[in-house]
Structure formats: C-alpha cells, structure tokens
Amino acid sequence: MEPTRVLSGRKVLRVVWLPGSDRLQGNCHCGAVHIADDPVEVWTWLLAHPVGHEAPAADPPPPARPEPALATAGAGS
C-alpha cells in the first residue's frame, strides 16, 4: 500500500517510486508531474521550477490534503 501524503506545507515536493517499476514520479507543488529513471534527474527537474513545469490542461493539481498529524503514534507512524 502506497503511503499517504504526510506533509501539508504549501510547497511540498513528492517523489513516488512507481509500484512494479524502477521509475520515479516527481510531483511538484504546482501540480506538474515528471517521470524519471533516477533520483538525480527527478530532483533536478523538481528544483528547476518553473522550468518544464507547465502542467497539462487535462491534469489539474491534486486536491488539498487533509491536515495530517506529523508524528503521532497512531497516524501511520
């Protein structure tokens, strides 16, 4: 089961190791997505914001996340 989103800041960058593959999916806080073969490439892309981050029209930003408890024992720790 993929871990749920945890951090709730305005500018969270997220990299998901796509299940069943060796690929990494970078998710920018702006909603743009980039799939890469290694972590150096995915971080380079994420940090180049906004270069290359034009989100496709059909791919809206993810919905706002619920406020998580960062470090409570019962919240998925």
Binding site: V6, L7, K11, V12, L13, D22, L24, P39, A73, G76
Partner: protein, 369 residues
Amino acid sequence: MTGVTISLTFVVEECPVSTIPRNQWYVAAYGREIGHDLFSRTICGESVLFWRTESGDVTAVSDRCVHRRFPLSQAPSRLVDDQVVCGYHGFTYGADGRCVAVPGQTRIPRTARLTSYPVVEQDSFVWIWIGDPARADSTRIPRAPWLDSPDYTTVSGMEPLQARFGLLVDNLLDLSHETYLHGGYIGTPEVAGTPITTEVDEEAGIVYVSRHMDDAECPPFYSKSTGLSGRITRWQDIEYTPPCLYKLHSRIAPVGVLPNADGTDPDAFHVEVVYAITPETENSTHDFWAVARDFALDDESVSDFLRESNRTVVLQDVAALDVLEQVIATEPEGYQELSINIDTGGLAARRMLAAQLAQSADRTAVAGS
C-alpha cells in the same frame, strides 16, 4: 665575504571549507549527563563547557580560558558554587561567561569573557545553538516528545563516530542498508525490496521518507520485543529535520491490521527511533540514539533487550562508517558516486544541508564584511 641570501617563504595553508551548517540547533548531551560538575564536549568544532547551576539550569560556555586557553574542564580547574575557576592562573567566570576575578589585580579586562551559548533542555536532550546568539529561536527546535513522555518507555545512548556527520545522514535516510548491514537484528529482505515515497517541505525544513511493507518477515528486534510471530505489516516513516534531529516512526502489526479511520491504532506496536546527529568535528560525530516504545512499558527485560539490540545496530553502523570515512578521506577528489532509487531521500537531505551550509556561509560573509 660571501653575501647571504635569506629567502622568506610564506606557506599559506588553504583553510578547508567547513561542511557543518552554523546558526542551527544541535543536541549537545542528554540532560542526565550534566550535573553540578564540569562537563566538556566538542560541538561543531567548538569546545564547550557545561554545568548545571544551583538553580537547575544547564549553562554552556567556551571551554577555553581567555587568558592562555587552558581548558576549564581540565583539573585543577574547578567549580565553586556557580563559578568556574581556571586551574592554571585562577581566572574566574560566572555561569554567563563573564569574568569576575583575575589574579593579582582588581581591574578585569573588558574582553575577559567566555563565549556563552544559548541552551534549551527539551525532550530529554540539551540543545545548543551554534552560531550568532541573536538568531537563536528556541521555537525552531524540532520536537521528540516520546522521549520523556509517561506513555512511552525509552532506552537511549550515544556512540562516538569517527566519520563526518553527512555519512550518518546518508545512512539513516536510506534504510535499505538494514537488509545487508543489520541482518539478524532489524534487517529483512523486504526492507531493501520495498519502494519508498519521499516528500520534502522546503519551508518547514523536513525530509520525509516512507516505506510501508504490507507483508514482511518480523526481525528479531521486533519479534522478541513485541511477542509477534509470523508475518507482519511494517511501516517505516522517516522524518528528518536537518541538520540534527532524525525520527523513525516505526509501526509493527500483524499482516492486514491497519489503523482505524479515526487515526487510532490500538492493535499495532509503535516504536519511535530517534537519532540526534551532532558534528563533533569535520570528521567525527556524536551519534545519539533513543528507542521509545508504547508497549511493555514496565517490562525491564524488554528495555534491556532493545537497549542492547539497538546499541549493537548502532555499532554496526559506526564500524561501517568509520571505514567509509577513511576511504573518503584518503581518496583523490572528484570521485563520482552513483545514486539509485533508494537514495531519493538521502539526496533530498544532502541538498537541504547544502542550502543550510550556504546560508550560514552567507551570514558569516555578511558579518565579516
């Protein structure tokens, strides 16, 4: 008479660039380590003298007498009430670092003052601010509330590491090494075999790495402490706030047992593994570790087992990283590392540390201009 030519050659040694971010809070000690005795520890290359004053507060000042640099922690230097007397010439300092007496004269030089460090005692740790005291904001200290919570039982220790602190950050941000370096303790095949998800919050200064194993072998560390046998659900959620505090929220439960929708999780075992990664020098580190659990709170045998097991695991890391430090310290510059998916969190941590380092360098440059 033959003329003599004297050649004056100035050898300018290049000052090595520091890798330690300044203007940051670091863990200097456990509160229990500091009593009404002189206690010295090097933090980020600075020799610091600690003691607990008669009011119970921890104080931290430079461990070098301003006169001839004699260590104030070195006998026959001694503490008299809340004043430290240098064992070399008798310079005497108060808990705030101010010199209150010098030998043979009544005038105390204006510059006779020890550097004083902001300190905060919190969550069983003594935190120290390394940098400009005017910038010390205690609300920025990351929390580890389990360590002195009555709802948890904690075992803890500290091991000296003869390696740069960045190597320990790399180590802890990528737990796939558990499978290989810590087999028989905390490592199982599923750790290295399970993908991770990494999140970075630049503004909050957090790197978060999740590895959720739905059906995993239970390593001895958890089977013997929880009593679980058979396959388990094992979640590892790393929360690192560079540069110092690292927390591993570890959740252990029988396969298929998940938290309730309301967030409660009564059928799982929770272990909070906390590390404080404090540079001693550019090439050595204080490796503080703590293991807090929310089960078997009064079972001393579980405490003994977790203390010994975790210390063994830490020493396995120490042995590996000590070797790695020697390799790195003696190799030619320019080695090109290879990073793969398991390094996603570690790379994020490195980048955040580099940003902190650049920021502290900028501040230093501004202050010195």
